[in-house]
Symmetry: C2
Subunit: 329 residues, 2 copies
């Protein structure tokens, strides 16, 4: 499905210019949009332009740009003035995960934009239906959840709240193909959306195996890297079941489901992480230990890997219809 | 960790020459072992040599071989005669998933080999502790679970039964590094081993979302392809938590765990798959629908993707210690 919208005729507002916000501003500029970027923090006015430029340079290095990075910047306005959002058909909020702050942001946005402007949040923590209540016109509100960095990932989760009108969610869904995304559209607002929710089922089971001494963190990570990692980017999980053949799954479900963890408590190991103020690679204290050199290497490795897997996945667009698949011999 | 064993001095027996058996025979030959391959079915004597040769040709195309494929075949004996297993230090059973047939195979193996020969099963369905009871000397029995195709995947799950002696599991664990694997060693025999078990937690949650109309199969597959797929091969799941920063996980666990499915029943959709005799891409009937051309394209796409992701993962051996990581600029 491709949208009929001309992206150059659609101005997108972005409120919040942290790592995530600046990353998808680059994506929106690349797609041809004009972007009005609101800096809720004064320091963002200073650092955001450099961040956005660096994202574009990354994209250029990777061959994603047809014109020089600086040319895109002419389509970008960075400002503290919410009034400049008046021309936007879509405004995406990307500020910190505090409901009260988001409420104030929505108030300022709604005062400026016209009644059919879609207002979206990038939240990954707060239900859309909860945030939606803060709006005077809740039906034009929805979630747009990006993955990081947005220009090297095709993932985009569009989530409706209880009162979102379909006309708006469908519009964003179609538009997002122009951003080079493979969007998912959740018509119901479920806790954790899709990926997080399914990954939490994995965390629950994995941490239960670790607690019971049945497997180590390292073993579980290896299994996922080398087994799941060898097919997930091609197939997803249900296509994989079709690929393996479905005949034994019902039997295994019957045998295995009663053994899976139904734990509702926060696992001890995660409580411990809170107690020791572990922030993972950021403060060198996590489920694994890190030197500062190792932490930096992980950052670099992820950036490089993400770019490579993005390109690899793009050469296997099998879910769109196999007619597009070109198999290298 | 590297084993001190010289693979050329270790003869490995393989009983069962289906797709999986012939695939890891190729891996064992490439690693330098002599291999005695037992054909439990007379037709295997005819088709297995061609299969093994084709696997080696695949490896050659991919640059994994230093000498021509045919040279490896001089180290291989294919026979119906279990007595030829007498010289093996390790015998891996890879016949169909029926306990009674496996029992007979173990009986024949044990009659031939000496008392310290390790006997292993490639089962993915039957607990090691159950199969172990069929042996006269159960302490030398364990699970060695390969992924397909074994020469393009580093995954290997070594599973101890209740009575497996550590000396044998440790020996296989070390030896498997010579096969170019990143093994996991499960000292306890858990239902579903590690990957299957964690994936079943995903299937349970995913099928519950589908049943409740909260997400579609397609949406869940997209989320996994484009989100989880963009990092899992680099990090596994717990390393990813460290990467994201751990500070919010305990809070999210608390909020989300009560919403996760604790279902113990076989999901309706899977019952339906049994009723309609769905075997996925094999009989063009599964969770998705397929033409025979599409089915073939999926087979080809998986073979090609698997080879590419194998190489990509090999360039990011970050879990071994970041000193090995070379980041491409």
């Amino acid at each position: 499905m491709k949208t009929n919208c001309e992206t150059k005729d659609i101005t997108v507002g972005v409120v919040g210019l942290g790592l995530m916000g600046t990353s998808f501003i680059a994506t929106l500029l690349m797609a041809g949009h004009k972007v009005v970027a609101i800096a809720p923090l004064p320091e963002d006015l200073i650092v955001a332009p450099g961040r956005i430029y660096n994202h574009l340079v990354q994209c250029e290095k990777s061959g994603l740009l047809s014109i020089p990075p600086s040319n895109y910047l002419s389509q970008l306005a960075i400002t503290e003035d919410y009034l400049l959002l008046y021309s936007c058909q879509l405004v995406v909020e990307c500020v910190i995960e505090k409901s009260e702050i988001k409420r104030l942001v929505y108030e300022k946005i709604e005062k400026t934009v016209n009644k059919t402007t879609v207002i979206a949040t990038n939240t990954s923590a707060i239900p859309i239906t909860v945030l939606q209540k803060y709006l005077v016109e809740p039906d034009r509100f929805l979630g747009i959840h990006w993955a990081e960095p947005s220009y090297f990932t095709r993932f985009l989760e569009i989530t409706c709240g209880a009162n979102t009108a379909e006309i708006y969610s469908n519009w964003v869904y179609e538009l997002s193909y122009s951003w080079d995304k493979e969007p998912t559209l959740l018509r119901k607002d479920i806790r954790g959306f899709v990926t997080n929710r399914l990954m939490y089922a994995v965390y629950r089971e994995g941490l239960s195996l670790v607690k019971n001494g049945q497997a180590t963190l390292e073993d579980i990570d290896k299994s996922f890297r080398y087994d799941v990692g060898s097919w997930i980017t091609l197939m997803g999980i249900f296509r994989r079941m079709d690929y393996l053949g479905l005949e034994n799954f019902a039997l295994i479900f019957e045998a295995l489901f009663p053994h899976l963890s139904n734990n509702q408590e926060v696992p001890d190991l995660m409580e411990k992480m809170v107690d020791i103020n572990a922030k993972g690679i950021k403060n060198l204290s996590g489920l694994y230990t890190y030197t500062s050199e190792e932490s930096l290497k992980w950052e670099e490795a992820f950036a490089a890997f993400n770019e490579e897997i993005f390109k690899l996945a793009a050469s296997y667009p099998v879910e769109k219809g196999v007619e597009n698949v070109t198999i290298k011999s």
